[in-house]
């Protein structure tokens, strides 16, 4: 057996694999950085209904999230449909979501209804405040769960998040008239573990859309040249707000999601300007968002 040929062959194969691997990584990183820095063009009519997905986590995260939503005075006539995503076994978050919907949203809705009734001309503009659902997904890793089984439960959790984003989760009902797309328009989270699955799933779906768009465009290239801005491109936008409890260091989910979230807001000045790698978007200092 003339071993020198096979050794040389092996060397070339290894070298080729390495170059291919490294260039794939560079292209993927570049694509991620590019897509992260892309701005959403102004395409959405002012009064179009919005589907908001809020990812809730355990105790502190949930309390902070509703604190933020109250402080920003979430407008139910704008964000007409709200989905709250909670982890299994987290009754606290689900209860808080119901409390927020009944106490806050109803109050705002009544106030705006009264204002609209007083102003008779604006009566047609009075819109319903829509509805909400609470969706439960399995945890990626339960407390005390073995690390051996954790990858499987993580995949299960990820799959569940994909279903939620596509509106196919058993907890969800088919959406009603004003909202046509199954995909949420915008995803808001402040860093529980589930957020990692949700944001990665959103990125994956958008990647699929991009691929499908390229394929269909090639197929239709000869026949039609329609408008380029189709809605799914600008849905599933993700906003990650680092927890208010994080003053000088990012949380683990924050570190993981820094390259993937479309907007990454921090609430303390010491965290401003961090980025995942050169060329990527920096974290944005938004000041205190909780009340």
């Amino acid at each position: 057996m003339d071993s020198w040929i096979s050794w040389a062959g092996l060397f070339w194969v290894a070298a080729f694999a390495m170059v291919a691997g490294i260039s794939t990584i560079i292209i993927a990183m570049h694509a991620l950085a590019k897509s992260q820095n892309s701005q959403v063009p102004k395409w959405r009519p002012k009064n179009s209904p919005i589907h908001l997905l809020v990812v809730l986590g355990s105790g502190g995260h949930t309390a902070e999230m509703f604190s933020m939503l109250r402080r920003m005075k979430l407008d139910p006539s704008k964000y007409t449909y709200r989905t709250y995503l909670v982890s299994s076994g987290d009754n606290f978050s689900a209860a808080k979501a119901v409390e927020f919907e009944t106490a806050y949203i109803n109050k705002v809705a009544k106030a705006s209804a009264a204002a609209a009734a007083a102003d008779a001309e604006k009566k047609d503009e009075q819109r319903s405040t829509g509805a909400y659902t609470i969706v439960t997904v399995p945890r990626a890793r339960r407390v005390h769960q073995s690390f051996l089984t954790a990858p499987f439960s993580t995949i299960q959790s990820f799959w569940s998040c994909l279903l939620v984003l596509r509106g196919l989760h058993p907890d969800q009902r088919p959406l009603t008239a004003p909202i046509r797309s199954p995909y949420p328009d915008i995803i808001l989270t402040n860093g529980p573990a589930t957020a990692v699955c949700v944001i990665l799933a959103a990125r994956l779906l958008r990647l699929c859309h991009a691929f499908c768009a390229v394929l269909t465009f090639r197929r239709r290239a000869g026949t039609q040249t329609g408008s380029e801005t189709n809605a799914p491109d600008f849905q599933l936008r993700t906003i990650f707000v680092e927890s208010w409890a994080r003053v000088t260091t990012l949380s683990l989910s924050g570190k993981l999601l820094l390259p993937f979230a479309d907007r990454f807001l921090v609430q303390w000045p010491a965290l401003e300007g961090k980025k995942a790698w050169p060329g990527m978007r920096e974290t944005e200092y938004a000041g205190t968002l909780v009340d």
Partner: protein, 207 residues
């Protein structure tokens, strides 16, 4: 300021509320506040009630206290000490008891809390002086940073379990010069995009 308040026959109610949170156990804090000398300090500053949320794991510490100092024997320094494990509806009601309320005869009290963000925000929103005690046994100790930062901005008092007695006096000083929460944006401050605006950016509304 730190001068002990003289005892009167009909003194107003003054509540000190202690919360250790729902998730992690915090025996160190419970043991500190249930010591006799700590109760003495509270009494010296005019407190009449001590209300404790001890959590699911804190029952053993609470029961030990009940056995060691049974109520109505005078060893609680005249304090009315009560405890409960957890309130699934949130702790706003209990925190409100520490707020000054003249019509109910409540003097302004104090909240001693673990460094969980939910509890800190709840207390700051009510404007009750707050002593934050970070749990040093938690592995990822970012709680200490939050407590220190809020202390340096003048919103709360950060304390360890060892220095908790001194923190009671500092609580009285904080009451005199408390800042309102949430902070108002100062004019000189650079204007940041609000959450509402960031969401609108990402939705791409037409002008």
């Amino acid at each position: 300021m730190e001068r002990p308040i003289p005892m009167r026959a009909r003194s107003p109610i003054k509540v000190c509320f202690v919360t250790v949170g729902a998730t992690a156990s915090f025996h160190e804090l419970l043991q500190t506040i249930l010591q006799e000398d700590f109760l003495q300090v509270l009494r010296r500053f005019g407190y009449t009630n001590l209300l404790i949320q001890y959590g699911k794991d804190g029952k053993s510490v609470w029961d030990a206290f009940e056995r060691q100092y049974p109520p109505h024997t005078g060893c609680r320094n005249g304090l009315l000490v009560e405890g409960f494990d957890f309130n699934p509806d949130g702790l706003d009601e209990e925190m409100r008891m520490a707020r000054s309320n003249l019509s109910k005869g409540h003097d302004g009290g104090l909240i001693i809390s673990h460094a969980g963000s939910g509890s800190i925000l709840g207390a700051m929103r009510l404007g009750v002086p707050l002593v934050v005690v970070p749990n040093s046994t938690l592995k990822d100790n970012h709680q200490q940073e939050l407590a220190d930062e809020l202390q340096s901005q003048g919103y709360v008092i950060a304390s360890s379990c060892q220095n908790l007695s001194a923190a009671i006096g500092r609580g009285e000083r904080l009451r005199a010069q408390m800042l309102a929460w949430p902070p108002v944006c100062a004019v000189s401050q650079r204007r940041q995009r609000s959450l509402q605006e960031v969401m609108s950016d990402e939705l791409g509304f037409l002008d």
